[in-house]
Subunit: 429 residues, 2 copies
Amino acid sequence: MHEETSVVRVGVLGCGNVGAALVTLLADQAASIEARSGLRLELARVAVRNLAKSRSVQLAEGILTHDAQGVVDDPDIDVVVELVGGIEPARSLVLDALKSGKPVVTANKELVANVGAELFAAADAAGVDLLFEAAVAGAIPVVRPLRESLAGTPIRRITGIVNGTTNYILSRMSEQGATYADALAEAQSLGYAERDPTADVEGFDAGAKVAILATIAFGTSVVAGDVSHEGISGVTPADIAFAHRLGYEVKLLAVAEHGGDGRVAVRVHPAMVPRGHPLASVRGSFNAVFIEADTLGELMLYGRGAGGLPTASAVLGDVVDAAGNRRRGTYASIGAMPRAVIRPIDEVSSEYCLHLEVLDRPGVLHAVSGVFAEHGVSIRSMEQEGLGDEARLIFITHEAAEASVQATLASLRGLDVVDRVRSVIRVVA
Amino acid sequence: MHEETSVVRVGVLGCGNVGAALVTLLADQAASIEARSGLRLELARVAVRNLAKSRSVQLAEGILTHDAQGVVDDPDIDVVVELVGGIEPARSLVLDALKSGKPVVTANKELVANVGAELFAAADAAGVDLLFEAAVAGAIPVVRPLRESLAGTPIRRITGIVNGTTNYILSRMSEQGATYADALAEAQSLGYAERDPTADVEGFDAGAKVAILATIAFGTSVVAGDVSHEGISGVTPADIAFAHRLGYEVKLLAVAEHGGDGRVAVRVHPAMVPRGHPLASVRGSFNAVFIEADTLGELMLYGRGAGGLPTASAVLGDVVDAAGNRRRGTYASIGAMPRAVIRPIDEVSSEYCLHLEVLDRPGVLHAVSGVFAEHGVSIRSMEQEGLGDEARLIFITHEAAEASVQATLASLRGLDVVDRVRSVIRVVA
């Protein structure tokens, strides 16, 4: 049996895509949430920038306001939901809400990935919840499992497909043989990609998410600026056709690794993923987070990473949780955490696939393989494709440090017999 | 910052595979758990049936005992972990522990799937935790996401691959073309299957798990006895080859559906799963739980469903959680729940694939299709394979109720032109 019903007044900052879906969800699910938890969630205020803008949702008189700070300061508001996006004024609003003892739910990955440590400390000092399940991988429960179910499990590596736009583009290139430009244009026409797609295609969005994942998985503060980026705009249909021939799919991966030395490596880059790997079958705009830990083996969480309703659904889950904790007088502490020591990308190891256009003459392989040896990069497999002007050598290396591979590439480019380094892409073993 | 360190004395009932791994994990991770949570977990007592048995783990003097009831009654024990298995004496021990105000963590699916409602009520009455993440799908966090992240999200259907033994057998049949008997023998030799494999291959193990999933997903009590079963012992290499040709894999699925009428359907059966579906790529002894909800779309949780260490890891997560809740004076309530109204399997609808051996003569299709029409089963596709003595008709139906399909089969078997119904298998759309 539940305690008697307690009314929880929710203030929402921002009413875009996710906010509008949240308003609808709250109305639809309030009764079942109350039946289940004894919490009566009431939408108290919704702060928007432009009061005059027409909206897809109907709001009762007096709910809509221009005054976000007023919502944060309102003593009648019990829980604040931040859907403004960006760092300021979101940061100040969230800090003020926490300081006044209000639990905060946010879907703002930029905010958490840049000033998360400050916000966690403020939440802890005030003894209230700061929940952000929706900031990473939308509707997929990943933040909470990492904070709770997997707390104390030493996690070795997290590999995520956490950007739906790029996964959609790469899926179209893989399934339809589309060029990058055509697949991007299609994603834009469907609303999966922004007019300016930089944040997605260059890996910044995925980078913010992997910083958050690394922070909660390893218990040390990792910020967006720690993440090395390589986007997908250089991926060609030839790269994908070649990957297919070897039994791989090309995916944009966000990787966080915890080294034996305590340092953390965080990076976003395209990679060849073997077809049998669970991440290879994550298609279209779906997301997935693949977790490796010694004690529990491999774990993957898969689902809708974006979209108004799925994201709002994750936000609502956090609101119910924060409201329940508030009633019980408790909260989910993240606690103070040290700044992570970041392993520079130069020292990060991976397997690589290198695709070289070479002259078709005796001794080429000898010259090229000498360059690999000189830089200590060991070759796992090699094959020649084409003849004459079309001659190409394709190498897959054993695990090698980024710096050694870059040095190898520089030397290869200086070799007479190498016309061009056509592509370099990491390989998931 | 955490509150000052609090010591939590853990009593473990049972020291088999999972218990031994838990003892090791506790020793290995105690320091990091304390650093992270301020909880110092101490292994206080381990109750076993046979004190003389040699064990893979070393236990300090005085830890091992024959007296499980004594562990439950010991006022110095703070949290009880039940790894005895089966219903009695596990049920009595768990009830006694709860009644004396001790939180209980269990990995016992049989217990929760049969007398869960009684245990939930006892936990609620005592105001303590009863946690059972490890009872379903081992290391995969699925119970907690359903209890917390997805609480309040109306879930339409859960489709699980929750038995590693059968998934291993079907994977071998699919990948190596092995017969059922050979794949089973191999699974037995590797320790993936018991000497008496009935509980796994006939779907009872998966049935207990899906009863638990249905209970927590739909908030109504579903017991193991509510689940309809069909195992994999009848699946032939021909079924699998045929499924492959149409672009499907054959999987043993555990399905829980919540109908619009409030009734719940729970069943375990083999099914053809389209290759593009995320469940199709769950191979070997891995498990996965696929969740469909209107608001958040599709979600899949994938990982190790069994094994000592992964299961112990899930148990330890629950122990940390229970200990933390105990310190904060709170607990995760499931609450009293009504008994589910079960939809009889006869009324459950699905798509079906029917494989008939027929006489190769004019009018056969006419006669056969007449039988389908008579029972209101609509045909989505049909193809003929082979000629003469080898003639076969393969039908895939639109969604049809089990009862109608069974009536169709009975009529088909009475038809002169039908030699034999070779196989009937459900199809995931």
